[in-house]
């Protein structure tokens, strides 16, 4: 698979390490009343779709950036790549 890095251009997937579902960016509030249940769901449960899936890839052998890659899990086709930082900011995380 070739991952089209937003800053560095096309890179072989073997340069990257996979973390999992991009929902991991959206960490629950640890001070919420139901934090225990929310963290259980956050850490352990997955949608695991057959089709379009947003996921986190770490460019470990490159610039060490985190990417959000949108990929089809049935065909391995990569539909979009974004910096995880930009995705997190759009969600209101960080500065």
């Amino acid at each position: 698979m070739i991952i089209n890095h937003p800053l560095l251009g096309p890179r072989d997937a073997s340069e990257f390490t996979y973390l999992g579902d991009a929902s991991l960016i959206d960490r629950p509030d640890w001070q919420s009343e139901t934090a225990q249940d929310e963290f259980h769901d956050y850490v352990y449960l997955r949608d695991n779709p057959a089709g379009t899936h947003r996921e986190l890839w770490f460019h470990e052998q490159g610039d060490r950036s985190w990417l959000v890659v949108t990929r089809n899990t049935l065909t391995h086709e990569i539909l979009a790549t974004e910096l995880a930082r930009d995705v997190a900011r759009k969600m209101g995380r960080g500065k």
Binding site: A13, G20, D21, L45, T75, H76
Partner: protein, 416 residues
């Protein structure tokens, strides 16, 4: 028809014109007592033991494709009981005991061959860990022997003992482990279940569940609605998809594991060897092909094929421990979709929806578990209580802190 030497002789005399189909091809009835979704090894074994051990009647197995076309036909056929933890080892020992009597029980040649499994070790700490594992295995009478380097050399002189990074110091030998013919297992269970009245319905994909007031009433399929008192799901690889139809999220990601077969060779390797340091395992099939594999590809996928980086990685691992395989040609490779669970251990449990049961999360160890998985799942479905060797395989174990973390890799499925 019962298979025997006499039956073969009779067929030889009449030109093999008398063999009938191994199982019927029935139309689905309007309702059943038990429906098992998934006609793989685990689903067929579940239906078989429901009929045999619990005297259940009116059982159907629903398979979206054909028998033997899923994960049971896409693995490396190894059977073993060399686990460490309490939640696992007694379960896999039960499985091995069932394997040992499987062919007589099913009246089917599944080519079960206890050729022995050798786990190589390369460091002092790994040897200590294997000594401990061997002791744990002996608690369940699975049998384990710790070999030194000379002991390994006497068995397999062709291994690379002097690898600079991972010299072979010895190994843990599990003589009762071995291989079985994967298709034969599926066909044997299908035939034996059919003979006990189980309806095996192929080309019948489940497209939804009918659930009212927290109770399952039946399933929607491509061949119409089928009612059921109890529904068991055993569709490893597709668990996320099927249980999603019942509104459940699971502690599972689907990943692909690739496996490889070389061209047919004369007998060279009579057992199974695992090379943990390089993530590689290998055996030789009765037809002569070297069957081997390594790591999963490590990202979510439902495509039953992998990618090249892992092919290179596996082949490098193989060359490192067994240099002579560099002289053989790779005949074919394939990928199977694995339910990778969050602690690397499976689930056999109620779902919280009355009458709906779940069996999955086998990671890449489902084949060896086939008999015990079916046995314990049938026990759960028939009695509503978990079998005593499968009490740890609960869906809520992450909530209650009772993970069975055999590998100690934590909650990241692609590391198991």
């Amino acid at each position: 028809m019962r298979y025997s030497a006499l039956a073969i002789l009779r067929q030889v005399l009449n030109g093999h014109r008398g063999w009938g189909p191994a199982w019927r091809d029935p139309e689905p009835q309007s309702d059943y007592d038990f429906i098992v979704i998934g006609g793989g090894g685990h689903g067929l074994a579940t239906a078989y033991y429901l009929a045999k051990e619990h005297g259940a009647a009116r059982i159907a197995v629903l398979e979206k494709g054909w028998i033997g076309g899923g994960n049971v036909g896409r693995n490396t056929t190894i059977i073993r009981a060399n686990y460490l933890l309490d939640g696992n080892q007694p379960f896999y020992e039960l499985s091995l005991k069932l394997w040992e009597n499987l062919e007589q029980d099913l009246n089917y040649n599944a080519m079960v061959s206890q050729r022995g499994i050798l786990n190589l070790c390369h460091t002092d700490s790994q040897r200590d860990a294997y000594r401990r594992r061997g002791n744990a295995m002996m608690f369940t009478d699975s049998g384990a022997e710790l070999l030194d380097a000379e002991g390994v050399r006497a068995m397999y002189p062709f291994l690379n003992f002097d690898n600079a990074r991972f010299p072979i110091l010895g190994g843990l030998l599990h003589r009762r482990g071995g291989t079985a013919r994967h298709d034969g297992v599926a066909w044997g269970y299908a035939r034996a279940a059919d003979q006990r009245g189980v309806d095996i319905i192929q080309n019948c994909e489940v497209t939804g569940f009918r659930i009212e007031n927290g109770k399952v009433l039946g399933v929607e399929t491509t061949r119409g609605y089928i009612g059921a008192k109890k529904v068991g799901v055993a569709v490893a690889g597709s668990s996320g998809r099927v249980m999603g139809q019942a509104g459940m999220r699971l502690p599972i990601e689907s990943h692909v594991l690739q496996a490889f077969v070389s061209e047919g060779l004369k007998p060279v390797l009579d057992g199974v060897i695992t090379y943990g340091a390089g993530h590689f395992y290998i055996s030789q099939s009765d037809k002569g092909g070297l069957v081997f594999g390594g790591d999963i590809d490590g990202y979510n996928t439902y495509a039953q094929r992998g990618n090249l980086p892992v092919v290179e990685d596996v082949v490098e691992g193989g060359m490192a421990v067994m240099p002579m395989i560099g002289r053989t040609r790779l005949l074919r490779m394939w990928g199977g979709v694995m339910d990778m669970s969050m602690d690397g251990s499976p689930f056999i449990d109620h779902t919280g929806i009355e009458g709906l049961y779940f069996n999955g999360g086998w990671c890449y160890g489902g084949f060896k578990a086939t008999p015990a998985s079916g046995f314990c799942f049938a026990h759960l479905m028939a009695t509503d209580r978990p079998h005593e060797v499968a009490t740890g395989y609960r869906l809520d174990r992450f909530k209650t802190g009772r993970m069975i973390d055999e590998r100690g890799a934590g909650a990241q499925p692609n590391l198991h």
